[in-house]
Each structure stands twice: as structure tokens, then as C-alpha cells.
């Protein structure tokens, strides 16, 4: 097979390629592997056996085949040829049940159409095979043509032989996994990793146009990357990788099995241990422009270096104040009558604030410290404070936290900044103060926004979230349940 130096990503536009648009995510399903593999196993022989003719699916009536498909697309293998190519059509021409009982049905009539279509294509496969054989025998032979840069692959259709080869390879590797007898274990491991890629909303990287039509959450780039991740794990990348010591790879594979390392799509390269697994896309849309180092030639702009706020400039340093030593902690004893009481705390905070104000001078205002803490509270009337508290109390019981709508309505004359500031500097602090006194051992500082089951909540709202959202944290939901 050809070795490609460039490590970019391959985008396959299913509509361009009449030859083989493999829709990756379609056949894979967590629970459905066994049914599918049975189906395939029973009919298929070895993928790589070039001489066998075989059908991969039994074409039967509507209700009999069980295959899960998610996106109204399917991969139908009608391979009668030697390479075991998969033929699929983009823009499904067969009707599929999208329901949950994992039924894929092939309309007989349409299937026959495709068979005849496929037979027409058979001759072109032969041509491709011949070309491939030539290359294998003598890669440097003239007249074989060159492979363009990987990033340009997508712009070629299957009229070019090398594109056909690439597509076939893609398909074959995809199919090979299906009937890998070595293991359901191996496959399930890979399966687990590839879940991310085959995730419902992410789907195939080859259905970009389909995807952007529907209102999916995952960005096309995300899908491309993930689809690419899968294809990359199979791709041959550069000679240098073949130089890698096999022992390292074996060690890696060994580790994987010993530790039960949570596999990822790169574990798939346990089939191809020498290949560098790359999920990072290459291109001007992704990388920073890093100039070649030529010594210190460019001047770092010395104009914008930040404005000094502290220490104060000489003119300001007029006040002499007794400063606390740097790094001094809180003292346990103070002169208050009741240690730790509300009054004691309030007094000391006020004392500190005053000291800071005097010491910092202009910095106190530049750091907006005058808009924090107790000062904020004092700038609100008691009536306003009560109103705020009431709204928060009413909303604390409701699931859908949108107290802000109400807050904005009730306080039309206060700016958003003021309201947010009050929330953090007065309301939350007071609440914490109460919590501290009432239940000091059970404090959840951010519970104010009812975020305890964040993962569950976000999981509900965004079914599609997997690694695409930083909110989703599987361990958290487990953790919370332990509580």
C-alpha cells in the first residue's frame, strides 16, 4: 500500500464518491455487535482473501435482517470482487426503519438495482487492482503517478485510481474488525473506545453535508476530527513510523492488556502497532504560525507592558501605615468580648478593609475593592435587600434556575453589574455565613445555583454530550450518587 508522508486528515465527501462512501457510525452499536457479527460471520469469509467471492448480507425481505442503523444510511456489501469492497450509496435509496428493534431492511427491488450497478463497477475494480499490483511490484516505476498531499484528497473523486485504493482500504479495515475472530474482547475494547466516534449525534465524518442540515450540537470539525481519528488509526503515516522499535509497541500493547487501560481510538492501532495515531488536524485553520528561529531579530513590543498599579508611585506614597508582616496569618486572639461572633467578625473585617484602603491608596479603587463586600451591602436599601432575598428564596425550590429573569425585572434601575456584584458580594456571603453557623460540616459553596448534579442535568439537556462537553464528567455523577 502506499505510504503517505503527510499527516493530515482525510475528508471523504460521500456525495462525490460513488464508489464507496463508507458511513462509519452506522453499523456500530454498543449492544448490537454480536447480532451483526453473527450475521456477517456466517456469510463472510476472510476479508483479505482475494479469491473468494462472497456476499456479506443475505438479501431478504423487509423484516428479517437485524441491524441497527442510526442515520438512514447503511453499508451494504455486495462484494463479489476480490478486494471485498463495500459499496454504499449516499443519500439512501433504500428505506430503513429507524426504530429501536434494530431492524435494517433492504428493499429487494432497490437492492437488485444496486447489484446491477455494482456489476458495472466491477470492471473498474479490476483496473484498480492491476494498478495496485504494479505499484506493489515497483513503487518507483514511472508513469504510476503521484499521490497528492493528504489535505487535498477530499477534492478527488473515485475517477482516480489512488482514490479508489484508499477508499477500498478504508472499507476493508472497517470490515476486518467486524469479523475479527480473535476477539470479541479485542473488538469490544476497540468498540468501547470508538463509542466516541460512533456516538449518535456525531455520526460519520463523511456525512458532513447531512450533518450540518440537522441541528446537531457537535461542530463539523469535531466530527471530522473524530472520524479522522478513526481513519488515522489505520492510516499509514510515513516511513519514519516503520522504524519504530516493535518492542516499544509490544510493550504498549502489553500494558494495555495488563492494566485494562481505558482504550481510546488509538488502541485500535494494536492491530497496526507501528502507526502513529494522530487525531490532531493539520492545516492553516488549526495551527499557529510559528516563524523559523533566526536569533532575536524581532522586537518584542515594549509599548504594552501593563500599567503599574502597585507599588504606588512616589508621589502617592505619603501615608505611613503600620503594615502587617508579609505572610502573617489570622490571629486567634482579639480584643472582642465574644470571639467569633458576628460582631467580632464584622469588626475585624471592617478594620482590615480600612487598613487596606489607606495602604493601597489609588490601587484600592483601581482594583474595584470599593465595590466589594460590605460596601456593596451598604449601598442597597433594606427594602431592596429584602426583595432580593425573597426572589432567591422562591427560586431556590424550582428546578430550572432562572432567577435572573426575575431579578432583572424587579430591579430595572440597577445595572447588571450591580446585581451580579450584589449576588456575589452580599447574598452569597450571607448565605455562606448562615451555612457556616447552621451546618458547618455540610457546606456546598456553589450549591446556591443547584448544581449538585451537574452531570445529570447537562446529560439530560444534551443527550449528545460525551467528550464534546467539558460539563459532562461521568465520575461526578458516580460520586454524587455515593453521597
Amino acid at each position: 500500500m502506499m505510504c503517505v508522508e503527510d499527516e493530515g486528515y482525510m475528508h471523504m465527501d460521500s456525495k462525490e464518491s460513488e464508489f464507496a462512501s463508507v458511513t462509519r457510525g452506522k453499523l456500530h452499536d454498543n449492544g448490537d455487535f454480536n447480532s451483526r457479527s453473527d450475521l456477517l460471520g456466517s456469510t463472510g469469509g476472510k476479508q483479505r482473501d482475494g479469491t473468494k467471492k462472497r456476499k456479506h448480507y443475505e438479501i431478504v425481505d423487509r423484516d428479517s435482517i437485524n441491524l441497527d442503523q442510526k442515520k438512514n444510511k447503511r453499508t451494504v456489501s455486495l462484494a463479489d470482487d476480490e478486494t471485498g469492497c463495500v459499496v454504499a450509496k449516499s443519500g439512501s435509496q433504500t428505506s430503513f426503519n429507524d426504530d429501536d428493534d434494530n431492524v435494517i431492511t433492504l428493499d429487494k427491488k432497490v437492492f437488485n438495482e444496486e447489484v446491477s450497478h455494482f456489476k458495472r463497477e466491477q470492471s473498474s475494480f479490476l483496473g484498480m487492482l492491476k494498478w495496485l499490483t504494479k505499484i506493489a511490484k515497483d513503487p518507483l516505476a514511472s508513469g504510476l503517478g503521484t499521490l497528492p498531499e493528504k489535505s487535498k484528497w477530499k477534492s478527488y473523486g473515485s475517477e482516480v485510481l489512488w482514490k479508489q485504493v484508499l477508499l477500498a482500504r478504508e472499507t476493508m479495515f472497517h470490515r476486518r474488525d467486524d469479523v475479527n475472530d480473535m476477539g470479541t474482547v479485542t473488538w469490544q475494547r476497540n468498540q468501547k473506545t470508538d463509542l466516541r466516534i460512533y456516538d449518535d449525534n456525531i455520526g460519520s465524518s463523511y456525512n458532513l453535508r447531512e450533518r450540518s442540515k440537522s441541528n446537531q450540537k457537535a461542530s463539523p470539525r469535531e466530527q471530522l476530527k473524530q472520524g479522522q481519528a478513526f481513519s488515522e488509526s489505520f492510516s499509514l503515516s510515513g516511513q519514519s513510523n516503520l522504524d519504530k522499535s516493535p518492542s516499544t509497541c509490544m510493550a504498549r500493547m502489553g500494558d494495555n492488556s495488563d492494566e485494562g487501560v481505558t482504550p481510546n481510538s488509538s488502541t485500535v492501532d494494536s492491530l497496526f502497532p507501528d502507526y502513529n495515531c494522530q487525531k490532531v488536524p493539520l492545516g492553516s485553520q488549526y495551527q499557529a504560525v510559528v516563524p523559523v528561529w533566526k536569533g532575536i531579530s524581532s522586537e518584542s513590543d515594549s509599548k504594552w507592558l501593563g500599567t503599574k498599579v502597585w507599588p504606588l508611585n512616589e508621589a502617592e506614597k505619603r501615608t505611613i501605615i503600620e503594615r502587617d508582616p508579609i505572610g502573617k496569618g489570622r490571629q486567634d486572639s482579639c480584643g472582642c468580648s465574644v470571639l467569633g461572633s458576628t460582631e467580632c467578625v464584622r469588626f475585624h473585617i471592617a478594620e482590615k478593609r480600612l487598613k487596606l484602603k489607606i495602604e493601597l491608596g489609588s490601587a484600592f479603587y483601581r482594583w474595584k475593592l470599593h465595590k466589594m463586600g460590605e460596601e456593596v451591602r451598604l449601598s442597597w436599601t433594606e427594602e431592596e435587600r429584602n426583595k432580593f432575598a425573597t426572589i432567591m428564596k422562591m427560586n431556590s425550590l424550582s428546578q430550572d434556575k432562572c432567577f435572573w429573569d426575575q431579578i432583572f425585572r424587579v430591579f430595572p434601575r440597577k445595572s447588571r453589574e450591580e446585581l451580579v456584584s450584589y449576588y456575589f458580594n452580599v447574598f452569597l456571603l450571607q448565605r455562606r455565613g448562615c451555612q457556616n453557623r447552621v451546618s458547618p460540616s455540610d457546606i456546598n459553596s456553589d450549591d446556591d445555583e443547584a448544581e449538585t448534579n451537574l452531570a445529570v442535568k447537562w446529560g439530560g439537556r444534551h443527550e449528545t454530550k460525551s467528550t464534546s462537553s467539558i460539563f459532562y464528567s461521568p465520575t461526578k455523577s458516580q460520586g454524587n450518587s455515593k453521597k
Binding site: 481510546n264 488509538s266 485553520q285 457546606i443 467528550t467
Partner: protein
């Protein structure tokens, strides 16, 4: 003894009022709390505090695509419903909501990191701190994981004007994918990230096998970890790897992202580090005495974030802070103990990182590092002057003409032909 480090610390008073929206775990208010702690421990008297300039769109476009920057500049919560296509394109609206003053917030935190890099370049300080920065997920053309503008990439690009090689270290619980991607194919930046990997944890990248590509192959290091890693395991691994990296790569400057979501008790994280363990890493990096840019990053339990970054400010200032937090406006947040120690949670996290697993990861990383030991494309050593000069002109020889064996033999170079001392080594030759 080394003269005391000069520290520049960046803070903008406006950043505390930034609000991502209800139910969003990212709370810039934590920066306010951090600053308060720093002030209450009087740490500001050991360093210089600067207000960063607000980064201009053109500066942001040094990395990001201009249309993305422009969109960020113009979009507001009120108009976003008109731009659903663009929102999807730039991955805004979900994890990365559009909120009031979004662009200004980006300008502040990015400006901080850029100014920090410039101060380091101009040698106005030895260490520069910008806790507001460290938003490492942002990509060139899209937002991601609460990050809109990747200030780290911008800071590194600035440092690259003065340094041949820059080392990026990331101890956020999430993989530093944005920075890694930006520099994946260059060897002028080496990115090292320690993060949770697996179980579909965001962002999903960061396997140990991701090592860079093309010229940047072996210049990306990923240390994937499992839940519950503790101080001992983490710091041991961190020190071993970073020591090796610095020794091998010899960077001119270091950028350290100190995401605090790797602390125990973080609402989105799943590690079990204490502030001591986390700050130990900072202490270790500081010891290399290289120009150091320190930023914040993740961290979603704001009290712990404030504790952590205050302690680490102290570490960078060689000041150990006593645990008793002095009175300040936000003291109530630090109940019940009002201490710098993270309060013990209800859940005890099990450390799923076995010794053998960590050892395997370390071996893998070292194995990859070996590949750049002697073959840097960016020169690390001077080319030795006494390189081999053939005494026959190879170019003049006709390659098609066969040489007889005798002539060929004459062209064989003895190992000690070029000798150091006065005596040549010919006495021992049999056929002299």
C-alpha cells in the same frame, strides 16, 4: 546565591464582575477572591502588580482567525439569536455561552498573558503571573470548554520572538488540547500535559501516543491519568518527567498553566491532589530559574481555586503562607476552618493509578524523549569545528568508474587519524 526573583503580577479589577451566566461553573469571581487572599496575606508588597492592557483584536488574530475574533467582538446576548449558524460554527452558545462583556473579558485575560510574556522578554521580571489566563481549550477558529481566546498560544508566540524554544506545562485536569494543537507540528514549542484521560472525559484527546507530527514529532508529551491520583504519585511523576524534559529540550522560557481543577473536591475534576501537591509542581518548575510565565486555568470550586493560587503566589515569592486565613471581605467563603487547606470532602476518591500503570506511562514518555536527545532540528549545541574533511575530492571522482580495491582501501579513514596530541598514531600501524 541567586538574587531574588522579580515577580510581575497581573490583575484587572473588572474581571471579578464577569459572569458567565446562571448554572455555569466557570466563575471569574474566583479571581477576585484570589486577589483578596493575596492582599490579605500582604503578598502584594513583595511584587509589582500591573493592570494589563486590553488586547487588541489584531493581537488576538496573531493566532486566531480574523473572522472568529471579529465575531466574538460583535456578538452580544441580545443579538445571538440572529446568528445561529455562526454560533454553531464557532462552537458558541453551550459550554461557551455568549454573555455581557464577553469580548472585554477575553481582552483582559489575553492582554494579561501577552503583557506578561513581553515583560519577560524585556527582562523586566523573572516570573510573571496572570491568574486570569490559562484558557487552554480555545482553538484557532472556535471556542471550546469555556475558553474563547487562547491566551497561552498568544503568550507563547510572544515568547518565541526572544527564545528559540519554549516549554509549555499544563497541570489542569483537562488535556491542554488547544495549545497542543496550535504547536503540534513544530519543535519550537514542546507541550507537556498531565490530565485525566479516558471514560469520555473532556476533551477526549491526550493519549500518551499523541506525540506530535512532522517537525514537531516527539515535541508533544501527554501524560494520561486515571481518577483519584494523589500527591505522592503525581509529584513523583511530574518531577521525573519535567526534569527529563528540561534537560533534553533546554527551553529558553517556560509557560506553566496551573489549572486548579486537578485539586480534590473540584466539581468537574476527579483527581485527589491537595494544594501542597499542586503547589509542589510550581515550586519545582520555579527551581529551573528560567523565565517563567504562570497562568490560571480551570478550577470550579472557587474557594479552593482562591486558596490554591494564593498559596502558589506565595510559592513563587518564596513565602510560605500560614494556614490561618487573615480577615478579609470574603472570609466567610473559607469556613468552617478558615484555613488554606482544602476541607475534607465526604467522598474519598480511590486512586485508580497503579504503580505499574504510572511506570509504564513514564517509560513511554522517556522512550519518546530519547528520540530528540541527539537530533534536534533547532540547534541545541554548537556545531563542533573539527568535522571531517576528506583529503580527496569526492566530487571529482567519477562515480561510474570502478575503483580498484587498493584505491578504495586508501580512502578508509582511521578512527584516530585526526589526533589531538603532538604524536601521530602511526607508530602502531603495521603497514606504515
Amino acid at each position: 546565591m541567586r538574587p531574588k526573583d522579580r515577580i510581575s503580577y497581573f490583575y484587572d479589577g473588572d474581571v471579578g464582575s464577569v459572569y458567565f451566566g446562571p448554572n455555569h461553573p466557570m466563575k471569574p469571581h474566583r479571581l477576585c477572591m484570589t486577589h483578596h487572599l493575596v492582599l490579605s496575606y500582604e503578598l502584594h508588597n513583595k511584587m509589582e502588580v500591573y493592570r494589563p492592557h486590553k488586547a487588541y483584536p489584531v493581537e488576538l488574530a496573531q493566532f486566531h482567525s480574523p473572522d472568529y475574533v471579529e465575531f466574538l467582538h460583535r456578538i452580544t446576548p441580545d443579538t445571538q439569536h440572529l446568528f445561529s449558524n455562526e454560533l454553531a460554527k464557532y462552537n458558541l452558545g453551550e459550554d461557551c455561552p455568549v454573555f455581557e462583556n464577553l469580548f472585554e473579558f477575553c481582552q483582559i485575560y489575553a492582554g494579561g498573558t501577552i503583557d506578561a510574556a513581553r515583560r519577560l522578554n524585556n527582562q523586566l521580571c523573572d516570573i510573571a503571573i496572570n491568574w486570569a489566563g490559562g484558557l487552554h481549550h480555545a482553538k484557532k477558529c472556535e471556542a471550546s470548554g469555556f475558553c474563547y481566546i487562547n491566551d497561552l498560544v498568544l503568550g507563547i508566540l510572544e515568547l518565541l520572538k526572544y527564545h528559540a524554544r519554549v516549554l509549555y506545562i499544563d497541570i489542569d485536569v483537562h488535556h491542554g488540547d488547544g495549545v497542543e494543537e496550535a504547536f503540534y507540528f513544530t519543535d519550537r514549542v514542546m507541550t507537556v500535559s498531565f490530565h485525566k484521560f479516558g471514560d469520555m472525559f473532556f476533551p477526549g484527546t491526550g493519549d500518551v501516543k499523541e506525540i506530535g507530527g512532522k517537525e514537531g514529532k516527539f515535541y508533544a508529551i501527554n501524560v494520561p491519568l486515571k481518577d483519584g491520583i494523589d500527591d505522592t504519585s503525581f509529584t513523583r511523576l511530574f518531577k521525573a518527567i519535567i526534569a527529563k524534559v528540561v534537560e533534553t529540550y533546554q527551553p529558553g522560557a517556560i509557560v506553566l498553566q496551573c489549572g486548579a481543577d486537578s485539586l480534590a473536591g473540584d466539581r468537574l475534576g476527579c483527581f485527589n491532589l491537595s494544594i501542597d501537591g499542586h503547589s509542589e509542581c510550581v515550586r519545582f518548575v520555579k527551581k529551573f530559574n528560567l523565565p517563567l510565565l504562570v497562568t490560571g486555568g480551570g478550577g470550579y470550586t472557587k474557594e479552593n481555586v482562591a486558596r490554591c493560587w494564593a498559596v502558589e503566589t506565595g510559592v513563587l515569592l518564596d513565602t510560605e503562607l500560614p494556614n490561618e486565613i487573615p480577615e478579609n471581605e470574603y472570609i466567610k467563603y473559607f469556613a468552617p476552618d478558615y484555613s488554606l487547606k482544602i476541607p475534607r470532602g465526604n467522598i474519598i476518591l480511590e486512586n485508580l493509578n497503579s504503580k505499574s500503570y504510572l511506570s509504564a506511562i513514564k517509560m513511554q514518555v522517556f522512550e519518546n524523549l530519547r528520540n530528540i536527545q541527539h537530533a534536534p532540528s533547532v540547534q541545541m549545541q554548537e556545531v563542533p569545528p573539527d568535522f571531517y574533511i576528506p583529503d580527496f575530492d569526492e566530487d571529482e571522482q567519477n562515480p561510474d568508474e570502478r575503483m580498484d580495491q587498493h584505491t578504495q582501501d586508501k580512502q578508509i579513514q582511521r578512527d584516530d587519524e585526526y589526533y589531538d596530541g603532538d604524536n601521530d598514531n602511526d607508530q602502531n600501524m603495521d603497514d606504515a
